[in-house]
Protein backbone atom coordinates (compact mmCIF):
# COMPACT_ATOMS: atom_id res chain seq x y z
CA UNK A 1 0.00 0.00 0.00
CA UNK A 2 1.14 3.49 -0.73
CA UNK A 3 0.00 6.90 0.49
CA UNK A 4 -0.29 9.61 -2.13
CA UNK A 5 -0.03 13.17 -0.83
CA UNK A 6 -0.52 15.99 -3.29
CA UNK A 7 -0.39 19.72 -2.79
CA UNK A 8 -2.32 21.44 -5.55
CA UNK A 9 -3.81 24.79 -6.46
CA UNK A 10 -7.24 25.12 -4.83
CA UNK A 11 -9.22 25.59 -8.03
CA UNK A 12 -7.82 22.30 -9.36
CA UNK A 13 -9.48 20.28 -6.61
CA UNK A 14 -12.48 19.29 -8.66
CA UNK A 15 -10.41 18.11 -11.63
CA UNK A 16 -8.09 16.05 -9.44
CA UNK A 17 -10.97 14.58 -7.47
CA UNK A 18 -12.54 13.46 -10.73
CA UNK A 19 -9.42 11.64 -11.98
CA UNK A 20 -9.15 9.85 -8.64
CA UNK A 21 -12.75 8.69 -8.60
CA UNK A 22 -12.60 7.81 -12.32
CA UNK A 23 -9.97 5.21 -11.45
CA UNK A 24 -12.42 3.60 -9.08
CA UNK A 25 -10.78 4.80 -5.89
CA UNK A 26 -13.38 5.22 -3.22
CA UNK A 27 -12.07 7.85 -0.86
CA UNK A 28 -9.66 10.64 -0.04
CA UNK A 29 -9.04 13.31 2.56
CA UNK A 30 -8.73 16.96 1.72
CA UNK A 31 -7.38 19.84 3.78
CA UNK A 32 -6.87 23.53 3.18
CA UNK A 33 -3.24 24.40 3.75
CA UNK A 34 -0.88 27.24 3.04
CA UNK A 35 2.62 26.91 1.78
CA UNK A 36 5.23 27.85 -0.75
CA UNK A 37 7.87 26.18 -2.80
CA UNK A 38 9.89 27.95 -5.40
CA UNK A 39 6.80 30.06 -6.13
CA UNK A 40 7.51 32.15 -3.04
CA UNK A 41 5.03 34.76 -1.90
CA UNK A 42 4.54 38.36 -2.80
CA UNK A 43 4.46 41.67 -0.98
CA UNK A 44 1.32 43.58 -0.15
CA UNK A 45 0.45 46.98 1.28
CA UNK A 46 -1.82 47.32 4.30
CA UNK A 47 -2.71 50.79 5.56
CA UNK A 48 0.56 52.23 4.34
CA UNK A 49 2.84 49.46 5.56
CA UNK A 50 4.35 46.82 3.32
CA UNK A 51 4.42 43.18 4.33
CA UNK A 52 5.27 39.87 2.78
CA UNK A 53 2.72 37.14 2.18
CA UNK A 54 4.85 34.01 2.20
CA UNK A 55 2.21 31.36 2.48
CA UNK A 56 -0.11 30.82 -0.47
CA UNK A 57 -3.39 28.95 -0.02
CA UNK A 58 -3.22 25.43 -1.40
CA UNK A 59 -5.20 22.23 -1.08
CA UNK A 60 -3.68 18.98 0.17
CA UNK A 61 -5.17 15.67 -0.89
CA UNK A 62 -4.25 12.46 0.88
CA UNK A 63 -5.25 8.96 -0.12
CA UNK A 64 -3.99 5.43 0.44
CA UNK A 65 -4.13 3.03 -2.50
CA UNK A 66 -2.84 -0.40 -3.40
CA UNK A 67 0.57 -0.59 -5.09
CA UNK A 68 -0.73 -1.46 -8.56
CA UNK A 69 -2.78 1.74 -8.77
CA UNK A 70 0.03 4.15 -7.93
CA UNK A 71 1.67 4.73 -11.30
CA UNK A 72 -1.51 5.50 -13.25
CA UNK A 73 -2.89 7.59 -10.41
CA UNK A 74 0.20 9.76 -10.07
CA UNK A 75 0.35 10.31 -13.81
CA UNK A 76 -3.34 11.28 -14.03
CA UNK A 77 -3.16 13.59 -11.04
CA UNK A 78 -0.12 15.34 -12.45
CA UNK A 79 -1.87 15.95 -15.76
CA UNK A 80 -5.08 17.16 -14.13
CA UNK A 81 -3.43 19.50 -11.64
CA UNK A 82 -0.94 21.02 -14.05
CA UNK A 83 -1.41 24.57 -15.33
CA UNK A 84 2.14 25.06 -16.52
CA UNK A 85 2.68 28.00 -14.20
CA UNK A 86 4.75 28.00 -11.02
CA UNK A 87 2.88 27.05 -7.89
CA UNK A 88 1.24 23.96 -9.43
CA UNK A 89 2.34 21.86 -6.46
CA UNK A 90 3.85 18.47 -5.77
CA UNK A 91 2.89 14.80 -5.46
CA UNK A 92 4.56 12.55 -2.89
CA UNK A 93 4.34 8.77 -2.64
CA UNK A 94 4.99 7.19 0.74
CA UNK A 95 5.01 3.59 1.87
CA UNK A 96 2.20 2.54 4.22
CA UNK A 97 2.75 -0.20 6.79
CA UNK A 98 -0.75 -1.06 7.86
CA UNK A 99 -4.30 -0.02 7.18
CA UNK A 100 -7.52 -0.86 9.06
CA UNK A 101 -11.18 -0.17 8.29
CA UNK A 102 -12.64 0.85 11.62
CA UNK A 103 -16.20 -0.31 11.00
CA UNK A 104 -15.32 -3.91 10.08
CA UNK A 105 -11.76 -4.47 11.20
CA UNK A 106 -10.59 -5.40 7.68
CA UNK A 107 -6.90 -4.87 7.06
CA UNK A 108 -4.45 -4.35 4.21
CA UNK A 109 -5.91 -4.14 0.70
CA UNK A 110 -9.39 -5.13 1.93
CA UNK A 111 -9.53 -1.93 3.92
CA UNK A 112 -8.82 0.36 0.97
Amino acid sequence: MKKIECIIKPFKLDDVKNVITDLGIAGMTVSEVRGFGRQKGHSELYRGAEYQIDFIPKVKIELVVSDDQVAELVSNIQKAACTGRIGDGKIFVLAVEESVRIRTGETADDSL
Partner: protein, 436 residues
Protein backbone atom coordinates in the same frame (compact mmCIF):
# COMPACT_ATOMS: atom_id res chain seq x y z
CA UNK B 1 -59.19 59.10 -2.80
CA UNK B 2 -57.65 61.31 -0.12
CA UNK B 3 -54.43 59.28 -0.39
CA UNK B 4 -54.27 59.74 -4.14
CA UNK B 5 -54.91 63.46 -3.80
CA UNK B 6 -52.09 63.72 -1.32
CA UNK B 7 -49.73 61.77 -3.56
CA UNK B 8 -50.64 63.90 -6.57
CA UNK B 9 -50.19 67.02 -4.49
CA UNK B 10 -46.81 65.85 -3.29
CA UNK B 11 -45.77 65.00 -6.84
CA UNK B 12 -46.61 68.49 -7.99
CA UNK B 13 -44.78 69.93 -5.01
CA UNK B 14 -41.71 68.00 -6.04
CA UNK B 15 -41.63 69.48 -9.52
CA UNK B 16 -42.41 73.06 -8.55
CA UNK B 17 -41.01 73.87 -5.12
CA UNK B 18 -43.00 77.02 -4.42
CA UNK B 19 -46.67 76.56 -5.08
CA UNK B 20 -49.49 78.23 -3.18
CA UNK B 21 -52.01 75.65 -1.99
CA UNK B 22 -55.28 77.16 -3.07
CA UNK B 23 -57.59 74.36 -1.94
CA UNK B 24 -56.13 73.76 1.50
CA UNK B 25 -55.14 76.20 4.24
CA UNK B 26 -51.57 77.52 4.25
CA UNK B 27 -48.97 74.95 5.29
CA UNK B 28 -48.15 75.41 8.95
CA UNK B 29 -44.63 75.51 10.30
CA UNK B 30 -45.30 72.27 12.19
CA UNK B 31 -46.36 70.52 9.00
CA UNK B 32 -43.26 71.83 7.25
CA UNK B 33 -41.02 70.60 10.08
CA UNK B 34 -42.60 67.15 10.25
CA UNK B 35 -42.47 66.69 6.48
CA UNK B 36 -38.81 67.68 6.53
CA UNK B 37 -38.18 65.37 9.46
CA UNK B 38 -39.85 62.50 7.65
CA UNK B 39 -37.52 62.92 4.68
CA UNK B 40 -34.47 63.14 6.88
CA UNK B 41 -35.14 60.17 9.12
CA UNK B 42 -36.45 58.03 6.26
CA UNK B 43 -33.38 58.97 4.28
CA UNK B 44 -31.20 57.76 7.12
CA UNK B 45 -33.01 54.42 7.10
CA UNK B 46 -32.50 54.09 3.35
CA UNK B 47 -28.83 54.95 3.78
CA UNK B 48 -28.67 52.09 6.28
CA UNK B 49 -29.85 49.78 3.49
CA UNK B 50 -26.44 50.28 1.95
CA UNK B 51 -25.03 48.42 4.95
CA UNK B 52 -27.64 45.76 4.36
CA UNK B 53 -26.59 45.31 0.76
CA UNK B 54 -22.94 45.18 1.79
CA UNK B 55 -23.52 42.49 4.41
CA UNK B 56 -25.85 40.45 2.22
CA UNK B 57 -23.40 40.44 -0.65
CA UNK B 58 -20.38 39.84 1.59
CA UNK B 59 -22.12 36.79 2.99
CA UNK B 60 -23.01 35.35 -0.39
CA UNK B 61 -19.62 35.61 -2.10
CA UNK B 62 -16.60 33.46 -1.40
CA UNK B 63 -14.05 34.52 1.23
CA UNK B 64 -11.53 35.51 -1.37
CA UNK B 65 -13.83 38.20 -2.73
CA UNK B 66 -15.35 39.62 0.45
CA UNK B 67 -13.06 42.61 0.98
CA UNK B 68 -13.62 43.76 -2.59
CA UNK B 69 -17.37 43.56 -2.32
CA UNK B 70 -17.32 45.55 0.90
CA UNK B 71 -15.24 48.18 -0.81
CA UNK B 72 -17.55 48.26 -3.84
CA UNK B 73 -20.59 48.78 -1.68
CA UNK B 74 -19.27 51.61 0.39
CA UNK B 75 -17.57 53.37 -2.48
CA UNK B 76 -20.56 53.22 -4.81
CA UNK B 77 -22.55 54.93 -2.13
CA UNK B 78 -19.99 57.69 -2.05
CA UNK B 79 -20.16 58.03 -5.81
CA UNK B 80 -23.94 58.21 -5.75
CA UNK B 81 -23.91 60.98 -3.18
CA UNK B 82 -21.47 63.13 -5.07
CA UNK B 83 -22.94 62.58 -8.54
CA UNK B 84 -26.45 63.23 -7.30
CA UNK B 85 -25.28 66.58 -5.98
CA UNK B 86 -23.38 67.71 -9.06
CA UNK B 87 -25.68 66.27 -11.72
CA UNK B 88 -28.34 63.82 -10.66
CA UNK B 89 -30.93 65.73 -8.65
CA UNK B 90 -31.53 68.55 -11.07
CA UNK B 91 -31.33 66.19 -14.03
CA UNK B 92 -34.16 64.30 -12.36
CA UNK B 93 -36.28 67.13 -10.99
CA UNK B 94 -35.55 70.53 -12.48
CA UNK B 95 -37.91 71.81 -15.16
CA UNK B 96 -38.99 68.38 -16.38
CA UNK B 97 -42.53 69.59 -17.17
CA UNK B 98 -43.83 66.40 -18.73
CA UNK B 99 -40.67 65.93 -20.73
CA UNK B 100 -37.89 63.40 -20.86
CA UNK B 101 -35.32 64.88 -18.53
CA UNK B 102 -34.49 67.77 -16.22
CA UNK B 103 -31.61 70.19 -16.43
CA UNK B 104 -27.90 69.92 -16.00
CA UNK B 105 -27.11 71.98 -12.92
CA UNK B 106 -25.47 71.55 -9.55
CA UNK B 107 -28.08 71.24 -6.84
CA UNK B 108 -28.55 74.22 -4.60
CA UNK B 109 -30.79 74.77 -1.59
CA UNK B 110 -33.75 77.07 -2.07
CA UNK B 111 -35.44 77.74 1.27
CA UNK B 112 -35.68 81.53 1.25
CA UNK B 113 -39.48 81.43 1.37
CA UNK B 114 -39.59 79.15 4.38
CA UNK B 115 -37.02 81.19 6.23
CA UNK B 116 -39.26 84.19 5.66
CA UNK B 117 -42.28 82.39 7.11
CA UNK B 118 -43.91 80.99 3.97
CA UNK B 119 -44.03 77.20 4.38
CA UNK B 120 -45.98 76.40 1.24
CA UNK B 121 -43.05 74.45 -0.17
CA UNK B 122 -44.02 71.80 2.36
CA UNK B 123 -40.52 70.70 3.34
CA UNK B 124 -36.95 71.92 3.14
CA UNK B 125 -35.29 71.51 -0.23
CA UNK B 126 -32.27 69.89 1.38
CA UNK B 127 -34.33 67.19 3.03
CA UNK B 128 -35.78 66.29 -0.35
CA UNK B 129 -32.34 66.18 -1.91
CA UNK B 130 -31.10 63.94 0.89
CA UNK B 131 -34.05 61.58 0.61
CA UNK B 132 -33.79 61.26 -3.16
CA UNK B 133 -30.02 60.83 -3.07
CA UNK B 134 -30.14 57.71 -0.93
CA UNK B 135 -32.56 56.13 -3.42
CA UNK B 136 -30.02 56.73 -6.15
CA UNK B 137 -27.44 54.91 -4.04
CA UNK B 138 -29.85 52.03 -3.51
CA UNK B 139 -30.40 51.55 -7.25
CA UNK B 140 -26.65 51.35 -7.71
CA UNK B 141 -26.21 48.80 -4.91
CA UNK B 142 -28.46 46.34 -6.72
CA UNK B 143 -25.93 46.01 -9.54
CA UNK B 144 -22.96 45.25 -7.32
CA UNK B 145 -24.13 41.86 -6.04
CA UNK B 146 -25.07 40.44 -9.42
CA UNK B 147 -21.73 41.10 -11.10
CA UNK B 148 -19.60 40.15 -8.12
CA UNK B 149 -16.53 37.89 -8.08
CA UNK B 150 -15.39 38.65 -11.64
CA UNK B 151 -15.77 42.36 -12.34
CA UNK B 152 -12.87 44.79 -12.21
CA UNK B 153 -13.27 47.24 -9.36
CA UNK B 154 -12.65 50.51 -11.19
CA UNK B 155 -14.67 49.47 -14.22
CA UNK B 156 -17.59 48.82 -11.92
CA UNK B 157 -17.16 52.18 -10.19
CA UNK B 158 -17.03 53.99 -13.53
CA UNK B 159 -20.26 52.26 -14.46
CA UNK B 160 -21.73 53.57 -11.22
CA UNK B 161 -20.77 57.09 -12.23
CA UNK B 162 -22.82 56.70 -15.41
CA UNK B 163 -25.71 55.02 -13.60
CA UNK B 164 -25.99 57.56 -10.81
CA UNK B 165 -25.15 60.61 -12.87
CA UNK B 166 -27.20 59.97 -15.98
CA UNK B 167 -29.19 56.77 -16.35
CA UNK B 168 -30.99 56.77 -13.00
CA UNK B 169 -31.84 60.50 -12.96
CA UNK B 170 -33.12 60.57 -16.54
CA UNK B 171 -35.53 57.66 -16.17
CA UNK B 172 -36.45 58.96 -12.72
CA UNK B 173 -37.39 62.29 -14.22
CA UNK B 174 -40.01 60.53 -16.36
CA UNK B 175 -41.99 59.70 -13.21
CA UNK B 176 -41.02 61.34 -9.94
CA UNK B 177 -39.61 64.37 -11.72
CA UNK B 178 -43.02 65.03 -13.24
CA UNK B 179 -42.13 63.76 -16.70
CA UNK B 180 -44.12 62.13 -19.47
CA UNK B 181 -44.79 58.83 -17.71
CA UNK B 182 -46.17 60.61 -14.66
CA UNK B 183 -48.49 62.63 -16.90
CA UNK B 184 -49.69 59.38 -18.44
CA UNK B 185 -50.69 58.14 -15.00
CA UNK B 186 -47.89 55.66 -14.37
CA UNK B 187 -47.59 55.05 -10.64
CA UNK B 188 -44.54 53.88 -8.70
CA UNK B 189 -44.85 54.95 -5.08
CA UNK B 190 -41.38 54.12 -3.82
CA UNK B 191 -39.51 52.66 -6.76
CA UNK B 192 -40.27 49.05 -7.73
CA UNK B 193 -39.48 50.16 -11.25
CA UNK B 194 -37.54 53.37 -10.77
CA UNK B 195 -35.05 51.93 -8.32
CA UNK B 196 -35.24 48.16 -8.16
CA UNK B 197 -35.87 47.14 -11.72
CA UNK B 198 -33.52 49.88 -12.95
CA UNK B 199 -30.78 48.33 -10.84
CA UNK B 200 -31.95 44.95 -12.09
CA UNK B 201 -31.79 45.85 -15.80
CA UNK B 202 -28.33 47.37 -15.36
CA UNK B 203 -27.24 44.24 -13.50
CA UNK B 204 -28.71 42.01 -16.21
CA UNK B 205 -26.84 43.68 -19.03
CA UNK B 206 -23.71 43.66 -16.90
CA UNK B 207 -23.99 39.97 -16.10
CA UNK B 208 -24.53 39.09 -19.75
CA UNK B 209 -21.65 41.23 -21.03
CA UNK B 210 -19.33 40.04 -18.24
CA UNK B 211 -20.14 36.38 -18.57
CA UNK B 212 -20.50 33.80 -15.83
CA UNK B 213 -17.91 32.97 -13.23
CA UNK B 214 -15.47 30.26 -14.22
CA UNK B 215 -16.79 26.89 -13.24
CA UNK B 216 -20.33 28.04 -12.60
CA UNK B 217 -21.88 26.31 -15.59
CA UNK B 218 -20.78 22.87 -16.79
CA UNK B 219 -20.71 21.54 -20.30
CA UNK B 220 -23.92 19.51 -20.24
CA UNK B 221 -26.10 22.30 -18.86
CA UNK B 222 -24.95 21.52 -15.35
CA UNK B 223 -25.22 24.32 -12.79
CA UNK B 224 -22.51 24.25 -10.15
CA UNK B 225 -23.43 25.93 -6.89
CA UNK B 226 -20.84 28.33 -5.56
CA UNK B 227 -21.91 28.74 -1.93
CA UNK B 228 -21.39 31.97 -0.05
CA UNK B 229 -18.89 32.35 2.73
CA UNK B 230 -20.99 33.70 5.57
CA UNK B 231 -24.65 32.92 6.13
CA UNK B 232 -24.90 35.02 9.34
CA UNK B 233 -23.79 38.12 7.45
CA UNK B 234 -26.21 37.40 4.64
CA UNK B 235 -28.98 37.11 7.23
CA UNK B 236 -27.90 40.26 9.02
CA UNK B 237 -27.84 42.06 5.69
CA UNK B 238 -31.37 40.95 4.90
CA UNK B 239 -32.63 42.14 8.27
CA UNK B 240 -30.91 45.48 7.80
CA UNK B 241 -32.48 45.85 4.36
CA UNK B 242 -35.88 44.99 5.84
CA UNK B 243 -35.48 47.66 8.50
CA UNK B 244 -34.27 50.24 6.00
CA UNK B 245 -37.26 49.52 3.79
CA UNK B 246 -39.52 51.19 6.33
CA UNK B 247 -37.77 54.41 5.43
CA UNK B 248 -37.69 53.50 1.75
CA UNK B 249 -41.45 53.03 1.52
CA UNK B 250 -42.56 55.10 4.51
CA UNK B 251 -40.65 58.18 3.49
CA UNK B 252 -42.13 57.90 0.01
CA UNK B 253 -45.42 59.09 1.44
CA UNK B 254 -43.57 62.38 1.00
CA UNK B 255 -45.29 63.86 4.02
CA UNK B 256 -45.79 63.41 7.74
CA UNK B 257 -47.07 66.80 8.79
CA UNK B 258 -50.82 66.20 8.67
CA UNK B 259 -52.78 63.41 10.30
CA UNK B 260 -53.68 61.74 7.00
CA UNK B 261 -50.00 61.48 6.05
CA UNK B 262 -49.06 60.09 9.42
CA UNK B 263 -51.79 57.49 9.07
CA UNK B 264 -50.63 56.72 5.55
CA UNK B 265 -47.05 56.15 6.72
CA UNK B 266 -48.30 53.80 9.40
CA UNK B 267 -50.20 51.80 6.79
CA UNK B 268 -47.15 51.78 4.58
CA UNK B 269 -45.02 50.39 7.42
CA UNK B 270 -47.57 47.66 8.06
CA UNK B 271 -47.87 46.67 4.42
CA UNK B 272 -44.12 46.78 3.91
CA UNK B 273 -43.62 44.43 6.83
CA UNK B 274 -46.40 42.06 5.84
CA UNK B 275 -45.19 41.85 2.27
CA UNK B 276 -41.76 40.81 3.54
CA UNK B 277 -43.37 38.20 5.76
CA UNK B 278 -45.52 36.91 2.92
CA UNK B 279 -42.58 36.76 0.57
CA UNK B 280 -40.38 34.90 2.99
CA UNK B 281 -42.91 32.31 4.09
CA UNK B 282 -44.02 31.72 0.51
CA UNK B 283 -40.40 31.22 -0.56
CA UNK B 284 -39.68 28.81 2.26
CA UNK B 285 -42.76 26.74 1.54
CA UNK B 286 -42.19 26.77 -2.21
CA UNK B 287 -38.59 25.61 -1.81
CA UNK B 288 -39.62 22.92 0.68
CA UNK B 289 -42.24 21.59 -1.71
CA UNK B 290 -40.03 21.72 -4.77
CA UNK B 291 -36.75 20.50 -3.32
CA UNK B 292 -37.88 18.58 -0.21
CA UNK B 293 -35.84 20.83 2.03
CA UNK B 294 -35.91 24.55 2.65
CA UNK B 295 -33.03 26.95 1.99
CA UNK B 296 -31.96 29.88 4.14
CA UNK B 297 -30.64 31.93 1.22
CA UNK B 298 -33.93 31.50 -0.64
CA UNK B 299 -35.83 32.58 2.47
CA UNK B 300 -33.71 35.71 2.68
CA UNK B 301 -34.27 36.39 -1.01
CA UNK B 302 -37.97 35.72 -0.47
CA UNK B 303 -38.28 38.39 2.21
CA UNK B 304 -36.54 40.89 -0.04
CA UNK B 305 -38.72 39.82 -2.96
CA UNK B 306 -41.79 40.62 -0.90
CA UNK B 307 -40.36 44.02 -0.02
CA UNK B 308 -39.57 44.86 -3.64
CA UNK B 309 -43.02 43.71 -4.75
CA UNK B 310 -44.89 46.01 -2.36
CA UNK B 311 -42.66 48.98 -3.08
CA UNK B 312 -44.68 50.16 -6.08
CA UNK B 313 -47.78 50.62 -3.98
CA UNK B 314 -47.37 50.11 -0.24
CA UNK B 315 -50.14 52.46 0.88
CA UNK B 316 -53.17 51.35 -1.10
CA UNK B 317 -53.45 47.60 -0.42
CA UNK B 318 -55.14 46.13 2.61
CA UNK B 319 -52.80 44.22 4.93
CA UNK B 320 -54.08 40.94 3.53
CA UNK B 321 -53.44 42.09 -0.02
CA UNK B 322 -49.93 43.15 0.98
CA UNK B 323 -49.21 39.64 2.25
CA UNK B 324 -50.40 38.20 -1.06
CA UNK B 325 -48.44 40.65 -3.17
CA UNK B 326 -45.32 39.80 -1.19
CA UNK B 327 -46.05 36.08 -1.36
CA UNK B 328 -46.31 36.13 -5.14
CA UNK B 329 -42.93 37.86 -5.21
CA UNK B 330 -41.51 35.18 -2.94
CA UNK B 331 -42.69 32.41 -5.23
CA UNK B 332 -41.48 34.24 -8.36
CA UNK B 333 -37.99 34.39 -6.89
CA UNK B 334 -37.90 30.63 -6.32
CA UNK B 335 -38.60 30.07 -10.02
CA UNK B 336 -36.54 32.97 -11.31
CA UNK B 337 -33.27 31.92 -9.72
CA UNK B 338 -32.95 28.56 -11.54
CA UNK B 339 -34.43 30.20 -14.63
CA UNK B 340 -31.54 32.65 -14.93
CA UNK B 341 -29.12 29.79 -14.32
CA UNK B 342 -30.71 27.93 -17.20
CA UNK B 343 -29.97 30.94 -19.40
CA UNK B 344 -26.40 30.84 -18.09
CA UNK B 345 -26.76 34.33 -16.64
CA UNK B 346 -24.69 34.16 -13.45
CA UNK B 347 -26.31 36.21 -10.70
CA UNK B 348 -24.28 35.74 -7.54
CA UNK B 349 -26.85 36.99 -5.03
CA UNK B 350 -30.20 36.63 -6.80
CA UNK B 351 -30.39 40.36 -7.53
CA UNK B 352 -32.10 39.83 -10.88
CA UNK B 353 -34.73 37.56 -9.38
CA UNK B 354 -35.40 39.83 -6.41
CA UNK B 355 -35.08 43.29 -7.88
CA UNK B 356 -35.79 42.93 -11.59
CA UNK B 357 -38.47 40.23 -11.67
CA UNK B 358 -40.25 41.34 -8.49
CA UNK B 359 -39.79 44.99 -9.40
CA UNK B 360 -41.76 44.32 -12.56
CA UNK B 361 -44.36 42.25 -10.71
CA UNK B 362 -44.77 44.94 -8.04
CA UNK B 363 -45.28 47.59 -10.68
CA UNK B 364 -47.86 45.57 -12.59
CA UNK B 365 -49.68 44.68 -9.37
CA UNK B 366 -50.38 48.33 -8.55
CA UNK B 367 -53.78 48.51 -10.33
CA UNK B 368 -55.11 45.66 -8.15
CA UNK B 369 -55.41 48.02 -5.22
CA UNK B 370 -54.61 51.59 -6.24
CA UNK B 371 -57.33 53.63 -7.89
CA UNK B 372 -56.55 55.75 -10.89
CA UNK B 373 -53.98 53.35 -12.32
CA UNK B 374 -54.17 50.84 -15.15
CA UNK B 375 -52.27 47.76 -16.27
CA UNK B 376 -51.58 49.26 -19.67
CA UNK B 377 -49.98 52.38 -18.24
CA UNK B 378 -47.96 50.36 -15.76
CA UNK B 379 -46.80 48.08 -18.55
CA UNK B 380 -45.80 51.03 -20.70
CA UNK B 381 -43.71 52.34 -17.84
CA UNK B 382 -42.06 48.98 -17.22
CA UNK B 383 -41.24 48.49 -20.90
CA UNK B 384 -40.02 52.01 -21.68
CA UNK B 385 -37.87 52.33 -18.60
CA UNK B 386 -36.61 48.80 -19.15
CA UNK B 387 -35.68 49.55 -22.74
CA UNK B 388 -34.01 52.81 -21.78
CA UNK B 389 -31.90 51.23 -19.06
CA UNK B 390 -31.01 48.15 -21.11
CA UNK B 391 -29.81 50.29 -24.00
CA UNK B 392 -27.92 52.90 -21.99
CA UNK B 393 -26.36 50.45 -19.55
CA UNK B 394 -25.28 48.16 -22.39
CA UNK B 395 -23.59 51.10 -24.09
CA UNK B 396 -21.69 51.92 -20.90
CA UNK B 397 -20.73 48.30 -20.17
CA UNK B 398 -19.53 47.78 -23.73
CA UNK B 399 -17.64 51.08 -23.77
CA UNK B 400 -15.87 49.97 -20.61
CA UNK B 401 -15.27 46.48 -21.99
CA UNK B 402 -13.59 47.76 -25.12
CA UNK B 403 -11.46 50.36 -23.36
CA UNK B 404 -10.27 49.40 -19.89
CA UNK B 405 -12.01 46.02 -19.81
CA UNK B 406 -14.67 44.91 -17.35
CA UNK B 407 -13.70 41.37 -16.47
CA UNK B 408 -10.67 40.37 -14.42
CA UNK B 409 -8.15 37.79 -15.72
CA UNK B 410 -8.81 34.13 -15.23
CA UNK B 411 -5.81 33.91 -12.90
CA UNK B 412 -7.13 36.83 -10.83
CA UNK B 413 -10.55 35.25 -10.65
CA UNK B 414 -8.98 32.09 -9.23
CA UNK B 415 -6.75 33.92 -6.81
CA UNK B 416 -9.66 36.03 -5.66
CA UNK B 417 -10.35 39.70 -6.30
CA UNK B 418 -9.23 40.61 -2.80
CA UNK B 419 -5.64 39.68 -3.59
CA UNK B 420 -5.80 40.62 -7.25
CA UNK B 421 -7.63 43.95 -7.15
CA UNK B 422 -6.89 45.45 -3.75
CA UNK B 423 -4.09 43.36 -2.36
CA UNK B 424 -5.61 42.44 0.94
CA UNK B 425 -7.64 39.59 2.33
CA UNK B 426 -10.92 39.78 4.21
CA UNK B 427 -9.91 36.93 6.52
CA UNK B 428 -6.11 37.09 6.65
CA UNK B 429 -5.48 34.37 9.19
CA UNK B 430 -2.37 32.29 9.08
CA UNK B 431 -0.14 35.08 7.91
CA UNK B 432 3.43 35.35 8.90
CA UNK B 433 3.62 39.11 8.91
CA UNK B 434 7.08 40.27 8.05
CA UNK B 435 7.41 44.00 7.53
CA UNK B 436 10.29 44.99 5.32
Amino acid sequence: MKKLKLIALAAVLLALPTLALAEEQAVSELTYILNTFSFLISGVLVMWMAAGFAMLEAGLVRSKNVATICLKNISLFGIAGILFYFVGYNLMYMNVDGGFMGSFAVWGADDAAALAGDYSAGYSSGSDWFFQMVFCGAACSVVSGCVAERIKLWSFLLFCVALTGLIYPIQGSWVWGGGWLAEMGFSDYAGSTLVHSVGGWAALTGAIILGARKGKYGRDGRVNPIPGSNIPMATLGSFILWMGWFGFNGGSALALGVASSAIEQGNVYINTNLAACGGMIASMIAVQLMYKKTDVTMALNGALAGLVSITASPAAPSPGAAILIGAVGGVLVVFAIPFFDKLKIDDVVGALSVHLVCGIWGTLAVPFCAEGTSFVTQLIGVVTIGAFVVITSSIVWLALKFTIGVRCDEEDEFRGLDIAEIGMEAYPDFQHVNTK
